[in-house]
Symmetry: C2
C-alpha cells in the first residue's frame, strides 16, 4: 500500500481539497499508472455535491484518466512500465453476466465497479478516481493510447468521447445519414467530431448562434437554432438520428419532431425524469426515444483507436490541480470550451 | 352517386344517429363493398366527441370494415362482385413519398386519407366510415380475407389487429423472446394472440387479477400484476419487448424497469403527452421507448394471411346498429370483451 496525493471532497458543499489516500498494492493482474492528466466531468460535480444521494465521502473524483504505467503485476501481459495507458469510468465488473459476456460491462447486471465512489475491498472501502497522482486497476480495464494521440486532449475521450461514440456506433451512423447533435458542451463537441468522422451529415442544434459558429469550426456541416420555430419547422422529419446532450430535463417535443419515420433520439445528458415526451410523435412516425451509457471496455479501446486513425482529440482547457474549485464554478455557468483537464504534475 | 344508410354524429356530445349520406360513384379503380360487419374502435368515440379537435361533422365512424364486393370499376383486377373484402384505417395516400414507396402508407409524408373524416373530392367533402351499408374505395386499399376467417371476429383485425401485429413484426418478435403485453382490451387481447402465434413467451401485464386469468385463456403464458411491487421487482430486466396498450397517460417507470438491456417498449394506446418517462432507465440499459401506428396495406394483408394461417380472430360482442350509443357508454367503462362489432344487416 502507498499513500497517494489526491484531491477529495469530504461532504456536500465541501470544496475539493488536498488529501492523502491509500491505494491498494499492485496485485498479480494489476497495473499501476502515474496520472498525467485527468478530465473534469459534470458527474464529478454531482458526486462532490451528493446530488444523486449516493456519494461516499471522502470522494476523489475523476474518471478520464491518462498517464504512464509505473508497475505491473506478475500476470499482466499487455502493459509494461513506461507505456502510456488510460482508465475511463469503469475499473471492474462481474465478468460473467450476459452483458459482460457481450463486452457491455457498462450494463453489467451485477453492477460495475466505477472508477470512483464504488464499493471495493481496497483500502478505504471505495474506489478513488483520477484527481490523484497514481491509480491501480485491473489490466482488463486498462486502455491503450495510440501513439499519435498526445497531450491533455486525450483524457476526455475516456468519458465524453465514449459516451458519444458508443451510441453513434450502436445506431449504425454512417455516410449519407443526417445526424443532429443537440447541445455543444463536453459531450456535444465530441458528438460533432465523431459524427463527422463517421461520414454523417452533422447538424449542431443549439440555442446559441455563437455556439453554432463554434460547432462549424469543430466540423458541423449545418447549424439549427432551436430558438427559431421557423428553422425547426423547415427541418421537421429530416433527421435519421439525434444525439441529445442537454444535461437537464427539457421539452423534447421540438426535437422529436425533427426525426424521420423510424428515426431515433438518444439521450446521453439528462439522467433524470423527463416531463415532456409526446407519445403521438413516437406513434405517428415510429420514432424512438432511447439512451446510452458510456461504453464497454472493448468499445472504448475501439474508440481510442478510431481517434488515432482520425486524429481526434477533445478541445480542452488545462488547469492546475488547485484550480479545480474555480473550474467547477465555471462549469456550472457552462464557461468552458469544452472540457477542463487537470495537469497532475501540479499535484506531485 | 347513391344515398346510403349510415349512422353519423352531428356535433360533440351528439349521439350517433341514422343519417343518409352520399357515396361517390364507382370509378375505374374503385371497389364497392356492401358492409356486413364494422368494428367499434375507441378512435370512433374520440372522433364523435371531437376529443382531438379535428372532427368534421357529420362524421360516420368505423374503420374495421368487412363485407362483400358488389361492384368493381373497369380497371379493377383483383376483386370481383361476390368476393369478401375488407377496409382498414386508410383509403388513400400520396403513393410517391419515400414512406409510401416502402409500403408504409400509414406514415405517408403527405398525409394519408383516413377511412373517415379525411378530406376528399367525394360528395360531402370528407370520407365516411363503416357505420354504413356500403362503401367505395380504391382497389389498392382493399384487403382480401382468407376463406377460413369467418364472422364478426374478422372486422377488428383491420385496426386492433394490425396495430398490434405491426410493432411485433417490426421489432422482430420471434421464438425465445419474452414479450409483455400491457393492458387487456381491444388492442391487448390481439397482442396476446399475435405474440403467442409468433412463438414468443407472452406475459399479460395488468392491474386486474380477473383480466390476468382471461389473458391466459387467450394464450398468455404468464400474468404479471402491475399493482404488486414485489411481482414487478422479480421481473425487472427480463423482457425483450413490451407492447403498451394503455390508452391514457400513465407512469411508465414500473414498465421500463421490466426491460432488458437494449429492450424496447412500444406505445400503441396513449396518443398523448407522457408526463413520466425516466431518462435514467433509458440510459442505464440502453432501452428504447417507441411507438407504432396501425400498418401499411401490404403488411395489413400479411397480417390477415397470418391470421388465416393461425386461425386468429378477434373476440367480439356483436351489436345492432341502433345499439351503438349504448356500446360507446360501455366502452367508456371498459365493459367489453374485447371489441364491439356492428352487424350492418340491422341497418339495411
Amino acid at each position: 500500500m502507498s499513500v497517494i496525493k489526491s484531491y477529495s471532497a469530504s461532504g456536500p458543499k465541501a470544496r475539493v481539497i488536498p488529501t492523502n489516500i491509500e491505494r491498494r498494492p499492485v496485485g498479480p493482474n494489476d497495473v499501476q499508472i502515474a496520472i498525467e492528466h485527468c478530465g473534469v466531468c459534470h458527474t464529478d460535480i454531482h458526486f462532490v455535491n451528493n446530488d444523486w444521494g449516493m456519494t461516499n465521502y471522502p470522494v476523489v473524483p475523476g474518471h478520464e484518466i491518462v498517464g504512464r504505467v509505473t508497475e505491473v503485476g506478475s500476470s499482466v501481459k499487455n502493459f509494461k512500465a513506461g507505456d502510456r495507458a488510460a482508465i475511463g469510468c469503469l475499473v471492474d465488473s462481474c465478468g460473467v453476466c450476459v452483458n459482460c459476456e457481450k463486452g457491455l460491462e457498462q450494463y453489467c447486471l451485477n453492477g460495475f465497479t466505477a472508477t470512483y465512489n464504488s464499493e471495493t475491498t481496497d483500502p478505504g472501502g471505495f474506489t478513488y478516481g483520477g484527481y490523484s497522482t497514481s491509480v491501480v486497476a485491473k489490466e482488463s480495464f486498462i486502455l491503450s493510447i495510440p501513439d499519435n494521440l498526445k497531450g491533455p486532449g486525450v483524457a476526455p475521450l475516456l468519458c465524453a468521447g465514449i459516451t458519444t461514440y458508443s451510441p453513434l456506433r450502436n445506431w449504425n451512423i454512417s455516410p449519407g445519414q443526417k445526424v443532429g447533435v443537440i447541445g455543444l458542451g463536453g459531450l456535444g463537441h465530441m458528438g460533432v467530431k465523431f459524427g463527422r468522422a463517421l461520414g454523417a451529415q452533422v447538424t449542431m442544434i443549439t440555442s446559441s448562434e455563437q455556439k453554432g459558429e463554434d460547432a462549424r469550426m469543430l466540423g458541423a456541416h449545418e447549424v439549427l437554432l432551436s430558438t427559431s420555430a421557423n428553422a425547426l419547422a423547415k427541418e421537421a422529419g429530416s433527421f435519421d438520428f439525434l444525439l441529445n446532450t442537454i444535461p437537464v430535463d427539457h421539452d423534447l417535443t421540438p426535437f422529436l419532431e425533427l426525426l424521420k419515420t423510424d428515426g431515433a433520439m438518444c439521450v446521453v445528458g439528462a439522467v433524470e425524469p423527463l416531463s415532456k415526451v409526446n407519445a403521438a410523435q413516437l406513434i405517428f412516425g415510429r420514432r424512438s426515444l432511447t439512451g446510452s451509457l458510456i461504453g464497454g471496455i472493448a468499445e472504448t479501446q475501439e474508440m481510442l483507436n478510431f481517434c488515432g486513425g482520425n486524429d481526434i482529440l477533445s478541445e480542452v482547457e488545462v488547469i492546475r490541480m488547485d484550480g479545480i474549485n474555480e473550474a467547477f464554478e465555471r462549469m456550472r455557468k457552462s464557461d468552458v470550451k469544452y472540457r477542463f483537464v487537470i495537469d497532475l504534475a501540479t499535484l506531485s
